[in-house]
């Protein structure tokens, strides 16, 4: 099955080789169509209009929440909060939960392979509350090292990625979550990279919080998700204040609305939520077994081709054990920007830089990496072109 034809960008740019889906995925026609249809036929605000059109918009928006809820197997759909993106979701937790429940000396455990979005909100909480940040280590081959001693009686939150955006590593979260449970710490899972590649089941994981962005999941930019257990969301104070999140407002106080409205101040990205629903329906229709088969084949092929080039060092797992379709690499003497520039001459999009993971770069003592990330619309032929181009880049700098 050729999924490439579902993505209109490849029709308008037939020569495009897009190997940067970990930054943002391309969007299938079904997502664009459903959003378009909303604006053309059902556009109105949600939760407020006293007319049928608004009721339709509200139904579409809340339907999207139900789709997300069953996609991640949440117990209740009001445990799904729509945000702008995963970054906002982490910030929501650090602000609303962190400010209310963490105190000076309490510990938050992260890993050295986290994206800045799962580091900086906690550094900000450290500045506000005097909490202590600890980090699980990463091995030289890019695996997470779970040292259970770092989870102590003082640990209040463990916040960890389900798949590294640089290394592709998929850490085993189960023992980490079990150890967190044992000391009563809450667990946040950053599913930003993993959510498009594998089944997410918040109940099986027993995660307290789980975050992801829509735009890496074939959905539009500007829509993200925070999942949290209802009892925790109920205990938390609201994050942003404004319309829609309130039950009652007086001149000197307010009463917050119930879930999920409590955490969705202001008019939400209605069309974005609808686009996210369409994207999830699209992914469900293909199914994760098929998605994984395609992506694993592509990733394995990419790794095997890169390994034939003696000057390429892969940063991250070199085998297919517990890894996703993100492959970072460096070449001694050629800066990743120059590699990406070489790729750009052939219409190939790869990412070069620190990938919002400066602590990880510092740990590996490299300034940056070049990164190939793959999705269902990629092909082996594209990887062949990329590898041929890489050889040309090397030859250009080493004639």
């Amino acid at each position: 099955m050729d999924y490439r034809q579902d993505f209109p960008i490849f029709k308008s740019r037939p020569d495009l080789i897009y190997l940067d889906s970990a930054a943002t995925s391309q969007k299938p026609q079904v997502v664009l169509d459903l959003m378009d249809e909303f604006y053309k036929k059902r556009n109105s605000n949600v939760h407020r209009g006293t007319y049928p059109l608004s009721e339709e918009a509200t139904e579409a928006y809340e339907n999207a929440r139900k789709t997300v809820s069953s996609f991640i197997n949440a117990k209740h759909s009001h445990e799904v909060i729509f945000t702008r993106n995963a970054t906002e979701s982490v910030n929501l937790v650090a602000r609303a939960y962190g400010d209310a429940f963490l105190n000076k000396g309490d510990e938050v455990l992260l890993t050295k392979m986290e994206h800045h979005s799962n580091i900086v909100p906690w550094l900000q909480l450290k500045d506000r509350k005097g909490i202590v940040l600890k980090y699980l280590d990463v091995s030289k081959d890019g695996r997470l090292i779970f040292d259970s001693k770092l989870i102590t009686a003082k640990t209040k939150i463990v916040s960890v990625t389900a798949m590294s955006n640089v290394l592709g590593t998929i850490p085993d979260l189960k023992p980490i979550i079990a150890a967190a449970r044992a000391v009563g710490a809450k667990v946040l899972v950053d599913a930003c990279q993993s959510v498009v590649h594998m089944k997410t089941d918040v109940q099986e994981l027993d995660a307290d919080f789980l975050v992801f962005s829509g735009h890496k999941l074939y959905a539009p930019t500007g829509i993200g998700v925070l999942y949290a257990k209802a009892d925790i969301l109920n205990q938390m104070p609201p994050f942003l204040g404004g319309g829609d999140m309130i039950h009652e407002v007086f001149l000197d106080h307010f009463i917050a609305d119930e879930l999920p409205a409590k955490f969705e101040a202001g008019t939400p990205h209605i069309a974005g939520a609808i686009g996210l629903k369409a994207a999830i329906d699209y992914v469900n229709k293909i199914g994760f077994p098929t998605i994984q088969k395609i992506e694993n084949e592509l990733t394995e092929y990419t790794l095997s081709q890169l390994k034939t080039l003696p000057y390429v060092q892969i940063v991250g797992p070199k085998d297919m054990v517990a890894r996703g379709s993100v492959v970072s690499f460096v070449i001694n003497g050629i800066h990743p920007h120059d590699i990406a520039e070489g790729f750009a001459t052939k219409n190939i999009c790869i990412r070069a830089g620190q990938h919002c993971a400066q602590p990880l770069m510092d740990y590996f003592e490299i300034p940056a990496t070049a990164r190939i990330s793959l999705a269902i619309y990629n092909t082996k032929e594209e990887i062949d072109t990329a590898v041929t181009t890489l050889k040309e880049v090397y030859k250009y700098f080493n004639p």
């Binding site: 920007h337 040309e392 250009y396």
Partner: protein
């Protein structure tokens, strides 16, 4: 593959001013963290003018070549003249088209140099917003 103009490639591979040992009286470190370029510039000043120039760093061909070519440009210049240098002066020096995505690569050396002087003069430092990228 023809990636960069020959002058850029030459100065990247065989720099004149990189890792040159000088007795600097002005030093400054700047970095573009998103792309992973970092640079340290050292200057020797004499009679209010730049007498010698050196830099160390790690970065792409454009950032390193630009930092190296800047040595030729600024030797003999006064601090005021250096502070007046603009984006266009550097692009002219490079002699190639610089796309928006490479503008910070091309100008990392300039911002480092200008901030070295501004820091010494205890004046507000420049940020990327000052360069009209």
């Amino acid at each position: 593959m023809d990636l960069y103009a020959q002058n850029i490639l030459d100065r990247y591979k065989t720099p004149f001013f990189k890792d040159k040992k000088i007795k600097a009286d002005l030093k400054r470190h700047e970095a573009n963290h998103s792309c992973g370029d970092a640079i340290d510039i050292s200057l020797v000043t004499s009679g209010g003018k730049v007498a010698d120039y050196s830099f160390t760093g790690a970065g792409c061909a454009i950032s390193m070549a630009a930092a190296d070519m800047m040595g030729d440009l600024v030797k003999g210049m006064t601090e005021d003249e250096i502070l007046k240098l603009t984006k266009d002066d550097i692009y002219k020096m490079l002699g190639i088209e610089i796309s928006m995505r490479r503008s910070k690569c091309a100008l990392l050396g300039l911002i480092t140099l200008q901030n070295a002087i501004l820091a010494e003069q205890k004046k507000p430092l420049r940020t990327w917003g000052d360069y009209d990228l």
